[in-house]
Amino acid sequence: MDKSFASRLIHLGEKNPESVSRTKSLPIAMTSVFVFDDVETLDQVYEGEANGYIYTRNGNPVHDALAEIMFNIEEGGDALVYSSGMAAISLSIISQVKAGDHIIAANVLYGGSFQFIKTELARFNIEVTFVDPINDDITPYFRPNTRVVYVETISNPLMEVIDLEKIAQVTHRHGAKLIVDNTFATPVICQPLLLGADIVAYSATKYLCGHSDVTAGIVVADKDTIKKIYSSGLLYGPTLSPFDAWLVVRSLRTLELRLIQHSNNALKLAQYLETHPKISTVYYPGLPSSPTFEVAQRIFNNNLFGGMLSIDLADGERGAYELLRNLETIKFVPSLAGVSTSTSYPAKTSHRSLNEEELRKANISKGLIRISSGLENVDDIIQEFEKALAKI
């Protein structure tokens, strides 16, 4: 016996057995670090002369598998994966600006992004102008130091669709980059890079993962831009667990099937709720009553409009509270895009950090409920809303 018991316990099984066949499913490379046989090889990998991995914060085979799927379906050059949507969003912006720069951002954004842009960027002397890019022309707000325009494909929670083609043209005319949070749409419904955007960011926690079990973020752009974001990400360190990356890869296998069902269900639910007397307004880009219906028809793929809709209760705050209480299997969950239908109350969740004034400006009323339509049989979803609304 040439090695002690403990040494054998520690080292045996490390080397993959020799095999001419490969695992058919992607292995979960649950390792923080990678092994080198010599210094020369390490040098080659560091210098990018050889393909290899060093440390999982720098890269991991499962991250690469996930990134490969994403940049392909997004028609981009490369992609990066991170531990949350906020990591992906913040790094996308940070990689493009420095102290003294200016950015233009939509005035209605996911609460976390809004706060990041308003408070965190201000600490680094980066100025921001919030504008309504759907109803206003953003041209007058550009300054010589404007580097970034930041928008969401579908605004949260009012579900307005931004004309990405137009915004991209205006942005590029002023020498700035357009960053789009495409979380609500996904590449099944909208491919912002093909419409002129420079960077697409995702909370992969939502539809890309779609099973409410992983927190993750993804950025897609051209190769050079991704290189810049990569260097920032390396230092900030929001590394996605290889296990979570593997779960997102698994989820992407059914992304298109899920988005078709999410969209079909949302449309039918929206059509039903629009005729209900206890609902004053339904916000869904697939309804002809939506102010951005035509834009959505033009820039969305496959005549799909996504799984997210919002409703204003005629009874306002009281009606909203009661509806949330009355719904039985449809849960009040402050997230979205899972397999099961869920609701949220923007004034107290995603937009909680907004003050009364900001809420009013963003048109978010106290009677507004956001619905993430799931993959159930749509008749079951409608029946439950019918019962819950009847009790108000």
Binding site: H211, R258, Q261, G338, D380
Partner: protein
């Protein structure tokens, strides 16, 4: 989850049935309870004999909260009273056979079935003094003729692996119950979106969860679904004693797979039909078998018994063995691999001569004739995946040009 007070559709059941938010944290997705044992109160029993149905969790081989959620979901999807999950499809089959059969008993088993079951019932089970008769279960007369006074079980697969030959569940259930035997149906190829054998009179449904129900080619699992009383007895004996327990992690992956199972099955069936039609019109293809096409010898039964024709097809070409080499070396999208029911397309060649030697040992010329009708000299078994149908067809087209 609050109790759902109205009847729900299969998409809803696939997502909600059996699940409830974690009572302590409210976590919406099911927990992976990776614990072998549970802290018990002072009067908990040590033997499984006293295990009550509503007993607290004791030991994961007896029951586990994550596995339990999978079992409830499977029971709901098959409209059964109860389900037990296992480490693999074969663990489920073994537990079922050894629960229903004793020395001196007799069972009738499909003469063409999943090879591991076929081989198990060729030697291992007869070695326990249980006699087995293999018949073509599509042939009702053959089943009637095989019945003996000590027949306790009829075991069928529909569609059967690998032929995609169908068996009329209702018909066989009547025969089985007429002589006091039980009917078990392996419904792995059909899935509950297509067929619910319990509603047609079967006593047990068996699944390899590794296939369509898990659906992602990453977790092994099996299940038996049936009546509460039978499964409670089965759990205490062969399930717990033989120890083929599924990992809570795999149970969780399969629960996750089930959420999209109805969507996936619709897409599998649409793709399979498109591919089958393409193959049927291709000059190099001799024969295509798909239950969803009029050319399937039992298409009428398929229409009656299957609401979804699933994603499995078989086809024959001249010089199958040589063609298999060309396929394995040149396919770009479709993987040349065994197993089935994954999001990826998988294809594998099964030569008749070899299978009839190792797995299926026919006794009558009728049995051989039925095999030849479906399989000729050999078949490509094709598990059509969820890729774009045009791409699968393109991949096949390029390879067929090389033959």
């Amino acid at each position: 989850m609050s109790k759902i007070t109205f009847p729900i559709g299969i998409n809803t059941a696939a997502i909600h049935a059996g699940e409830e938010p974690d009572p302590f944290t409210g976590a919406s997705a099911p927990n992976i309870v990776m614990s072998t044992t549970f802290v018990a109160d002072a009067n908990a029993g040590f033997s499984v004999e006293g295990l009550e149905e509503d007993a607290a969790w004791i030991y994961t081989r007896w029951g586990n909260p994550t596995i339990h959620q999978l079992e409830l979901k499977l029971a709901a999807l098959e409209q059964g009273e109860s389900a037990i999950a296992f480490a693999s499809g074969m663990a489920a089959i073994t537990a079922l056979l050894l629960h229903t059969l004793r020395a001196g008993d007799h069972a009738i088993v499909s003469d063409v079935a999943y090879a591991a079951l076929a081989e198990m019932t060729n030697e291992m089970i007869p070695g326990l003094d249980i006699s087995i008769t293999k018949v073509n279960t599509a042939d009702t007369e053959a089943i009637k003729n095989a019945i003996r006074t000590e027949t306790r079980l009829i075991y069928i697969e529909t569609p059967c692996n690998p032929l995609l030959r169908l068996t009329d569940i209702q018909e066989i259930a009547k025969i089985a119950h007429g002589v006091g035997a039980k009917l078990a149906v392996d419904s792995t190829f059909a899935t509950p979106l297509a067929t619910r054998p319990l509603e047609l009179g079967a006593d047990f449904v068996v699944h390899s969860l590794t296939k369509y129900l898990g659906g992602h080619g990453d977790a092994l699992g099996g299940a038996i679904i049936g009546s509460k009383a039978e499964l409670a007895a089965l759990r205490k004996t062969t399930a717990i004693r033989l120890g083929g327990v599924i990992s809570p992690f795999n149970a969780w992956l399969i629960i996750r797979g089930l959420a999209t199972f109805p969507l996936r099955m619709k897409a599998h069936a649409e793709n399979a039909l498109a591919v089958a039609k393409f193959l049927e019109n291709h000059p190099r293809i001799e024969r295509v078998i798909y239950p969803g096409m009029a050319s399937h010898p039992q298409h009428e039964l398929a229409k009656r018994q299957m609401k979804n024709y699933s994603g499995m097809i078989t086809f024959q070409v001249k010089n199958g063995r040589e063609a298999a080499r060309v396929f394995a070396e040149n396919l770009q999208i479709i993987h040349y691999a065994v197993s089935l029911g994954h999001h990826r397309s998988l294809i594998f060649y099964l030569p008749s001569a070899e299978l009839l030697e190792t797995s299926f040992k026919f006794k009558t010329p009728e049995q051989l004739a039925s095999w030849k009708l479906f399989a000729g000299e050999g078949i490509f078994r094709f598990s059509v995946g969820l890729e774009d149908a045009e791409d699968i067809i393109h991949d096949l087209e390029l390879v067929l040009e090389r033959l």
